[in-house]
């Protein structure tokens, strides 16, 4: 039998690509792949942002822009929602941050299977191309809403019912293949490739959040994959999985006997965990940002980790809270309302712990922390409205109103986005070796943070009035007072302002990349391993000849008696300057 070496002990030299193309295009380096993922995700995210601007213009000034027809509005809603949730947030948090941070934070040289990791990106790019292609196919992209509910998603009369929905489903299936290839890498790397001393319970929360989110993805995307295949078959070769007997435009269709509710179950079995696929990495990242910038250990580390795990598990048994009005067996409502409310407990624990971490901390109110605190606000806000919607009797009248739009934008739109901004500011110095401009960063934060409140707070009120979501215009409707129009105008002005303010952000990133001040390798005095690399930005292989050894958890901030107010994870216990820890 051959002797067994763990990955961390493997000292064989890495294969270093020599050509520019090998280094930056067909790269197998997790950091390059991460950047590729992030840039693609942001690029396609900007498309979604433009679409939201167009929708808002229509809502505030109905009919003012001639090319926004009712059909186009539906298509914008659908593409905006799908791109934001899947192609931007999922790809950016897991493909981007997951790829960049996992190996660095656990002290590995790369992902365990770099080749497949590279393929993951290229397949993701293909899915994005197929998705964007749907803007150019006959009939345009699908207008079925991001939930793609059949029968309407594939019956004539829905915009994009032909090619639009086909390209959408194909793109989703391709995306899932890409995600699986990446996800297998992230999960296996966390499990099997940690450096010496890096026990699971010493990993930074960021890694925990990304890890559990990856597992959720690997178990939840299958349901979407299956649903996509079945709907594709219904649409192309005339099976009837989801299609009941139905009369469409005066003609009976050839389908019969299928179950539209089945699709909803499959979709939401994926869809709810998906919320946590974007939330858990954000939870993890925000914990690390808060702890680092308030110079305190994260409050209740173990509790934080277990809360992530428990939320992950519970997220698989709450899906039907999206289906209270679907016509499913009403008794299910009891179960799903209960499980939904239970999930609020670990979530609330996390919020308390973030606040308690800040409590009496040595707070450095830098831009990353501003965004993290902004996240706490928006997340509490979105979480509380979630409690409303989790209860059947409250949800029924609020279903499909702007209250729901306000809720989910707060909780899974704005909150993860704020964390992503914070994370980019936080890690930018490590990734580029340069500092961003502080004034522009502050400006970006305040406009964005105040802006999103002006956008989404009124939406809750509109929802309470009964304004329905996914409506092209309200027209003359008795229960809608004239003031709704006024609110819509304010929302739109704020939305366009916030959208435009992102130019500040991009300008800051790009100009700092070329002209920013040289950054210190560890400007925030952070403890986790990614800040302890020998080079900034980290080079191929991350660690030079030897891997770091981990001696402590990631949260030794302001340890009494220590020389500095932080002790990096790779400083041995009892070292001079360290804390004399006797463990």
């Amino acid at each position: 039998m051959t002797t067994y070496t763990t990955i961390a002990e493997d000292t064989r030299p890495l294969h270093h690509p020599k050509t520019w193309v090998g280094k930056y295009v067909w790269s197998q380096d997790h950091k390059v792949i991460a950047i590729q993922y992030s840039l693609t995700a942001v690029g396609v995210g900007l498309v979604a942002l433009v679409l939201s601007g167009l929708m808002r213009l229509q809502l505030a000034f109905p009919g003012a822009i001639p090319f926004i027809t009712p059909e186009a509005y539906y298509q914008f809603v659908t593409m905006h929602g799908m791109i934001m949730v899947i192609y931007l947030l999922t790809a950016l948090l897991l493909g981007g941050f997951g790829n960049y941070m996992i190996p660095l934070m656990i002290g590995a040289r790369d992902m365990v299977f770099p080749f497949v990791n590279m393929l993951s990106y290229w397949v993701y790019l293909l899915s994005v191309i197929v998705l964007l292609a749907s803007f150019f196919v006959p009939g345009g992209p699908t207008g079925a809403g991001w939930t793609l509910y059949p029968p309407q998603a594939i019956t004539d009369g829905t915009p994009g019912a032909g090619w639009g929905i086909i390209t959408m489903l194909a793109s989703l299936a391709i995306f899932i293949v890409a995600f699986t290839m990446g996800g297998l890498n992230y999960a296996t790397t966390v499990l099997q490739a940690r450096t010496k001393g890096m026990t699971l319970m010493r990993m930074p929360c960021t890694v925990w959040g990304i890890f559990v989110a990856t597992i959720l993805g690997l178990l939840a995307f299958p349901a979407l994959f299956v649903a996509a295949i079945m709907m594709m078959l219904d649409n192309t070769i005339g099976t009837s999985f989801f299609m009941p007997s139905i009369i469409s435009m005066g003609e009976p269709l050839s389908h019969s006997g299928g179950s539209p509710i089945l699709f909803q179950h499959l979709f939401w079995f994926f869809g709810h965990p998906e919320v946590y696929i974007v939330a858990l990495p954000a939870f993890g990242i925000v914990s690390d940002i808060i702890s680092t910038h308030s110079r305190k250990n994260i409050f209740g580390y173990r509790m934080m980790v277990w809360a992530i795990i428990i939320i992950g598990v519970l997220s698989f048994i709450v899906w039907a809270h999206h289906m209270y009005v679907s016509g499913m067996n009403p008794y299910f409502g009891y179960f799903f309302a209960t499980s939904t409310l239970i999930i609020a407990v670990p979530t609330a624990i996390k919020v308390y712990n973030w606040v308690l971490t800040l409590w009496q901390g040595d707070i450095h109110l830098r831009v990353p922390l501003l965004f993290a605190i902004g996240f706490i606000f928006t997340f509490i806000h979105g979480g509380l409205t979630g409690l409303f919607l989790g209860n059947v009797s409250v949800d029924v009248p609020l279903s499909d109103t702007y209250f729901v739009v306000g809720h989910f934008h707060m909780v899974m739109g704005v909150s993860p986005i704020l964390v992503i901004f914070g994370a980019i500011y936080h890690w930018y110095p490590k990734i580029t070796g340069r500092m961003w401009n502080n004034v522009l960063g502050q400006l970006h934060f305040w406009i964005t943070f105040i802006g999103v409140y002006i956008i989404y707070l009124p939406m809750h009120y509109l929802g309470l009035l009964g304004v329905p979501r996914r409506y092209y215009e309200m027209g003359e409707t008795d229960f809608v007072p004239a003031s709704v129009q006024w609110a819509n105008e304010i929302i739109t002005i704020a939305a366009l302002t916030v959208g435009a303010a992102q130019i500040i952000f991009f300008y800051n990133l790009i100009s700092s990349y070329f002209r920013g001040e040289k950054a210190d390798p560890n400007p925030w005095g952070a403890t986790s391993l990614e800040w302890q690399t020998p080079d900034t930005p980290p080079t191929h292989g991350n660690w030079g000849p030897t891997l770091p050894t981990v001696h402590r958890w990631a949260y030794d901030y302001s340890v009494p008696g220590a020389a500095q107010d932080f002790i990096p994870q790779n400083v041995p216990q009892g070292e001079p300057g360290a804390d004399g820890d006797k463990m």
Binding site: Y4, L184, L191, L218, L219, A220, T239, S259
Partner: protein, 230 residues
């Protein structure tokens, strides 16, 4: 120090509680000790794939339970007339037998791989792949027969249209897995025979391929039970 989590390398008591399970898992470097990463990765992939097949089967059961038209009787639909007699499920029985046997040859191949017996490993893997190919061949025959009898994804002569839809979709997806497996096993077998793994010491590749193959067999057992026997 109280704020560093305890490491558990100095455990003296025998592990017996939930807590020690947790600490075992969270110890140094690797969760699955002495498990090559490829194997861990294959297990995780199979877990994910299990969810895909579960969704397919659950969806099939849902449409079967909710359709208002009668479901065709599998014992009649899947009967073959041999020597003038109609024998129910005979083809499926043979297919199942072939596939299960291939798991046997795969297990033997893994065993020989442990003993570094290059030739026996390679040949047994090729035998496994051949049995797999046979299975796919018989499946093609079954599809052809059903199509000739008028079964289509959108309808069939005997009852609920979902019958053909689920049948072609699920057996097709499984058959796709078997086909991939045949290609995968053949590739690895050739590499084994060429001595690639002798040189780079990564013989566990055989075992990883074996995991995949056993999984595909196991899935078939469920499809068999839920589709043909129900």
């Amino acid at each position: 120090m109280s704020n560093s989590p305890v490491t558990h390398t100095d455990h003296t008591a025998a592990p017996h509680s939930l807590e020690s399970l947790v600490s075992d898992w969270s110890t140094d470097q690797e969760v699955f000790k002495k498990v090559q990463w490829g194997k861990a990765m294959m297990w995780i992939f199979l877990l994910s794939d299990t969810f895909i097949f579960s969704c397919f089967l659950t969806a099939y059961m849902t449409v079967r339970a909710s359709t208002v038209v009668a479901w065709p009787n599998p014992s009649e639909v899947f009967a073959l007339t041999l020597f003038g007699e109609s024998i129910p499920l005979i083809l499926i029985a043979i297919m199942t037998f072939v596939l299960i046997s291939s798991s046997g040859t795969m297990a033997m191949a893994v065993n020989f791989a442990y003993r570094r017996n290059r030739k026996a490993t390679g040949l047994l893997m090729l035998a496994t792949a051949a049995l797999g190919a046979m299975f796919v061949g018989m499946q093609a025959f079954e599809w052809t027969k059903l199509i000739q009898e008028g079964v289509r994804p959108w309808g069939n002569p005997w009852g609920a249209p979902q019958f053909g839809a689920s049948f072609f979709m699920i057996t097709g997806f499984h058959g796709f897995h078997v086909t991939c497996g045949v290609i995968y096993l053949t590739t690895i077998a050739i590499r084994v025979l060429n001595g690639v793994y002798e040189r780079n010491g990564k013989y566990e590749v055989v075992e990883i391929a074996g995991l995949y193959w056993h999984f595909v067999d196991l899935v078939w057992v469920f499809i068999f039970a839920f589709f043909y026997l129900w």
